[in-house]
């Protein structure tokens, strides 16, 4: 690494570049060294622009010992010369490693933390840990068969359709959810049905028709015509679910392998979203069907889970599904923020879960009375001084000193480890500061340059990211930061 360049070679290259004689360059360099020495003698420091700073440093008298004779000696006070390279030179020399950044040292326990979080997130359904998810499926099956049994007592002939009503009901719920949550749900639902094998989808379609016809009881002829085939299908469905249950068990056994963990997480997400949606929906409709719908929704969620876990090929779709679920969750939390605590619960859950995966870049928040950008930044980042970041992300905002309650703001989230900023976030913050700078500059406010100073703190090269005219005096002021 440390290849040597002789003084002669150095002089040669300088002489070549400056079109001067070697002799002159040699003498000039010697004189340069002399002048530097003189400067050090004179006032203790010499700064050379673009290179570095030579400085005399006082070292106090201290005790030492001669390692050869092991005699104690006193080292007298003296000066030592230190050279501190300027940033330009430091960066130039460090260029081969410039792309590396310090990173957190991960602890070994991290992987184990993930499942426990999930467990706590959905105690209702998996009380004691991963193996029980299989049990819960069995529970659902039992529950549905119990339902069937009950209905059999009530309605007699219609029994066969009970199991089959589930998809129809599920559609109904999902439709209503869709109406409530907006259209985001639709593609997800489609995908969910696509995920299931063709056999089932066909079944669902026929069943959906059937259940519609069946809801207004008609001639028994038709019923009897459908009944046997439906029964067969019920058994195939049940059989299928049973065959899927062991599959889940086996993946559980493999669960320690990192490979199946994402699938499990995806499945849990789907479960959470569907159950959360059903619960939320149940608060608004007090109809007698609610509990049944809940159960139905659970079974559908479980069968979805089974599909997702059983079929490894569908991993990718499961993942994309998860993304959509996240979107959906965001939308959900946004809509319900004003009234419902539970929305914040799901939001927290999604935040907790997604911190292990990928985080959303930003969340939408509705401004409440008394809130300021300052307080929003403090709540979200723990550092109120980051408020220009929010301002920078919301182009609709004009005056950073004035936000209106009831309006919605997109609040960017830090994506570095431990809720810290990563490089991209820092650029975002710097851009936010430049946006506030621009506004205050437009108002001829003396605050403006302070915001440019802030931008400089978060990004070194302001001019490269700013698309606005920057006052030279302000830039000079800002460049003093860092």
């Amino acid at each position: 690494m440390s290849e040597k360049v002789t003084f002669g070679e150095l002089i040669e290259s300088i002489a070549e570049e400056t079109d001067r004689s070697k002799q002159f360059t040699h003498d000039f360099l010697k004189d340069f060294a002399d002048v530097v020495n003189g400067g050090l003698e004179q006032d203790g420091t010499v700064n050379i622009a673009g290179f570095g700073k030579f400085k005399l440093k006082r070292v106090d008298e201290r005790e030492g010992y001669n390692p050869q004779t092991e005699e104690k000696i006193t080292i007298p006070a003296h000066n030592k010369i230190v050279f501190k390279p300027y940033k330009d030179l430091r960066e130039l020399v460090n260029a081969p490693y410039a792309h590396l950044e310090p990173e957190l040292i991960e602890e070994d326990t991290d992987e184990e933390v993930v499942p426990t979080e999930e467990k706590s997130g959905q105690d209702d359904f998996i009380p004691t840990g991963p193996p029980t998810s299989k049990d819960s499926i069995n529970d659902e099956q039992e529950a549905s068969s119990e339902d069937e049994a009950e209905e059999e007592n009530d309605n007699g002939d219609i029994v066969e359709f009970d199991g089959e009503e589930t998809p129809g009901d599920e559609d109904k719920i999902d439709d209503e959810l869709n109406e409530f949550l907006g259209t985001e749900n639709e593609p997800q639902e489609e995908q969910a049905t696509d995920e299931q094998p063709d056999e089932v989808t066909e079944e669902e379609q026929t069943v959906a028709k059937d259940s519609n016809e069946e809801e207004q009881p008609e001639t028994t002829e038709e019923e009897s015509r459908f009944a046997p085939s439906e029964e067969e299908k019920t058994t195939t469905l049940d059989g299928k679910e049973e065959s899927l249950a062991p599959a889940i068990g086996s993946t559980k056994e493999d669960g320690k392998q990192a490979n199946s963990l994402p699938i499990f997480i995806a499945a849990v997400f789907i479960l959470l979203v569907l159950v959360g949606g059903a619960w939320y929906f149940s608060l608004f409709s007090n109809g007698p069907d609610t509990s049944q719908q809940m159960a139905v929704n659970e079974t559908s969620a479980v069968s979805q889970q089974a599909d997702a876990t059983a079929d490894n090929n569908q991993q990718s779709t499961a993942v994309s599904n998860q993304d959509q679920n996240q979107d959906q969750q965001e939308g959900q939390s946004q809509k319900t923020q004003q009234n419902k605590q539970q929305a914040t619960n799901t939001a927290n859950q999604s935040a907790a879960n997604s911190s292990t995966d990928q985080k959303p870049d930003a969340v939408n928040q509705t401004i409440e009375k008394g809130q300021t950008l300052w307080s929003l930044a403090e709540d979200n980042y723990g550092n109120p001084r980051l408020w220009p970041w929010i301002y920078g992300k919301n182009d609709a905002l004009q005056n950073p000193d004035k936000i209106l309650a009831g309006n919605s703001l997109s609040v960017p989230l830090p994506s570095g480890p431990q809720n810290n900023l990563n490089a991209a976030d820092s650029v975002g913050v710097a851009k936010g500061f430049i946006a506030t700078y621009q506004w205050y500059k437009g108002q001829n406010s003396s605050k403006a340059k302070n915001h440019l100073w802030g931008a400089k703190l978060y990004h070194n090269d302001i001019r490269s990211i700013a698309d606005v005219e920057i006052d030279k005096a302000d830039l000079a002021y800002a460049n003093r930061a860092r």
Binding site: V5, T18, F28, F32, I48, N79, L104
Partner: protein, 97 residues
């Protein structure tokens, strides 16, 4: 002493304009920097030896994040003053006391 003082003095010594001297000095500094960036070591008589060395990757506690961080390797500039300069300035310190 800052760069303009240095330039003024050199210009005076060599009977050149300050602008010319500044250009010359910039070229010299640039050559130094380039050599260092390419991992070269060089010695200026009466001044000292410049070189670069690599600091290994290490773990360190970051008090702000309250967590241990892995710091990447980096290359830094080394400087060791020439013996004559060292002796000269050592004396200077002793005289001041």
């Amino acid at each position: 002493m800052n760069t303009s003082d240095l330039v003024a003095k050199l210009a005076d010594n060599w009977d050149m304009s300050k602008a010319e001297t500044r250009r010359l000095l910039d070229t010299i500094v640039e050559t130094f920097s380039d050599s260092l960036a390419n991992g070269k070591t060089f010695t200026i008589p009466e001044l000292g030896t410049f070189g670069s060395s690599t600091r290994d990757e290490r773990e360190s506690y970051n008090p702000h994040y309250e967590q241990y961080m892995k710091l990447p390797p980096k290359r830094t500039v080394d400087y060791s003053p020439s013996k004559s300069l060292k002796e000269d300035l050592k004396q200077l310190g002793a005289n001041d006391e």
